[in-house]
Symmetry: C2
Subunit: 391 residues, 2 copies
């Protein structure tokens, strides 16, 4: 097969707000090779990501992502790795390239799996897709009451794990944050797995983060996620020594395997969270899973958007039976639900797993795509480099 076309679809809610909800827009990628099609999704700013695929070359190692993909042959996983390596080298000076490639690479796996009639996790070398414990991923309420209600609802919906994130945490007092953690624990019940995500709010300030540790320990939080900037490894490494009970989690900001590795080696995280829509796709994410597992670090998917993204994010650790926790979006915006017909639902045990179907196993709903589609047109020097294609 030869890659004949790579098409991008920029979907968005009519109104996008400043809340930390990444499901307000989406960048879908469709790759076509002969009679086969694959779909992927960039967890990234749509317009710059499209631009990074179609832009004119700046020089030999600042080429558009498209230059390493279009016209390439695809027959085996090695071909995908070859294209990823080409993007990494030939686009080394194009910062956005990794985010663009993430959705493209996902689509390449989907396409290859569809063509071969095999699920992606099988192409990755796994013999079985193990079930995972989904955690409901939601934002903290504005106050403890809202968080308590949200936690109770999650519990009522049958979840055994929940992640509360962002909101007012780190912006007010230690006591205010403690009240939030207490509320989340109370609503979730004593045996629920409680995860806390503070969205880089402490930048690199170890002491401000450490001040929250006693309250997190009292609430029996399993992990504290992203206390610092994605690359502030030294701060992670310092904070991890301050609690024997609460582990650190991070990695969603990794846009290459080095960054994930450094969070493990230098940052000491116990949970490495990879977003396949940012790290360059499924192949790099699998590399991280292979690196984490023998080191006693738990691999976790980072997913806050669609079921397409969720399927992609489950593949890299589908075969790791002991890596049980799984990010599971439950409060996404309609746009993130509209464009897939398939749902990865919880089974009778309340668990989820990567689909058994070929590729990523997710059927796209063209009508749903059209409903939220934003037309994009990019012209340079009078020439149209991109125009939203037909779906």
């Amino acid at each position: 097969m030869k890659i004949e076309a790579v098409d991008f679809f920029y979907l968005s809610m009519p109104e996008v707000t400043t809340e930390a909800d990444g499901s307000q827009d989406a960048l879908l990628v469709r790759v076509t090779a002969g009679s086969h099609v694959g779909w992927g999704e960039c967890e990234a700013a749509p317009l710059p990501s499209i631009a990074a695929f179609v832009c004119p070359m700046s020089h030999g190692v600042c080429r558009p992502v498209g230059a390493s993909i279009l016209g390439q042959s695809l027959h085996a996983p090695e071909d995908i790795a070859r294209m990823s390596a080409a993007v990494a080298y030939d686009s080394m000076d194009l910062l956005q390239a990794a985010h663009t490639m993430s959705g493209v690479e996902m689509a390449l796996w989907d396409l290859l799996g569809n063509a071969r009639g095999e699920p992606v996790w099988q192409l990755l070398g796994y013999g079985h897709s193990h079930s995972k414990i989904p955690y409901a991923s939601v934002l903290f309420g504005d106050g403890p009451e809202a968080t308590l209600a949200s936690a109770r609802k999650i519990r009522g919906d049958g979840f055994h794990a929940a992640k509360f994130g962002w909101g007012p945490i780190g912006r007010g007092s230690v006591e205010a944050d403690r009240d939030q953690f207490v509320a989340a624990r109370e609503g979730l019940g004593p045996d629920g797995i409680l995860l806390v995500d503070v969205g880089q709010i402490f930048i690199e300030d170890v002491e401000h983060a450490a001040a929250r540790l006693p309250a997190l320990e009292a609430a029996d939080a399993t992990w504290l996620e992203e206390p610092f900037q994605a690359a502030a490894y030294a701060s992670y490494g310092a904070l991890v020594k301050r609690s024997a009970k609460v582990g650190l989690a991070g990695g969603e900001g990794a846009h290459n395997t080095h960054m994930a590795r450094h969070l493990i080696d230098y940052g000491g995280v116990g949970y490495i969270q990879i977003d396949c829509g940012r790290i360059g796709g499924i192949g790099p994410a699998k590399w991280v899973a292979d690196y984490a597992a023998p080191r006693g670090v738990t691999y976790v998917n980072h997913t806050f958007t669609s079921n397409l993204a969720l399927s992609a994010s489950l593949q890299p650790f589908a075969g790791l039976a002991d890596h049980r926790i799984c990010g599971y979006p439950v409060a996404t915006k309609p746009v993130a639900q509209a464009f897939t017909r398939t749902r990865i639902a919880r089974d009778s045990n309340g668990e989820v797993r990567a689909p058994e179907a070929p590729g990523l196993g997710i059927e796209i709903d063209p009508e749903g795509v059209r409903r939220y589609l934003l037309d994009v047109e990019i012209k340079v020097g009078g020439r149209v480099l991109y125009r939203t294609p037909a779906i």
Copy 2:
């Protein structure tokens, strides 16, 4: 002053080739506040960088760069730092943001310096702009003869230092590379400072890089630059132990201060090379200089393009008298020369320094900008988000 407008100008040679010559296009940035104007330059892919300034918000921490700049007040260096921090947080999920911000931040310093009548290095707290030894930065020839001729010409032009980069190094045999190093040394003479840049060719493979160390030592190279990917700190750290004579240099790929710090702390580089057009601008670069100096690491600018980029890149270490080596582009494409009237020329000692004039001290030539200007138009959802402005 209030930031009223930020305009981008995408300049390009009529034909762009795959050679590793970053001067084939340019992204100029003009910032306007009241009666004052400042200019900067992104060392980045122009189209995705423009897109990162004007794109619609995706969510609270994936906002366009413009959201943190337009309408902001600018009276002191602290205001620039505040805007940089806003971009780092509010655009944390927009990968290209750092490259976009780099040119904008440069322009903010230029504007502030122009308004105050002070050179930027003075605004940074330096009392004096020390002269530097410029190295002529050129590419290796296709074979040793071409490299020899190039080195002789550099010597004949009065340079005491030269950096040879990219070309065939690492793509063929160790012997072929040795012949190149020998040719460069021969042409440069025994007392010239020889620097070698291999453009990440060994990806993260320590042994392939180490195989070139004996030849580099024999040629008395001062540094080996970018043997590995920008974030492959562990490989840097392993290679640095293999030679007591040849230092490692790197950092041009750093798009935040963390990356530069990690190359020092984990990678053990002796020379930290910062491109102000990528790391987020002059402020972050100055932070790196402050971090490097007390640790015995030499700060070096990375500059391969215009005199505007050169002036910006000299500011962060203008006051560090002992940090003498300075990247100095000598073989740029016409586009990189056309848009500035000012030239940072070598003095009678063959040395260069950051200008004494206010701001960055570089006058833009609008006629030169127009000569290479590519019109860009970006439309999303029927709305024009960007159209090349008048110059």
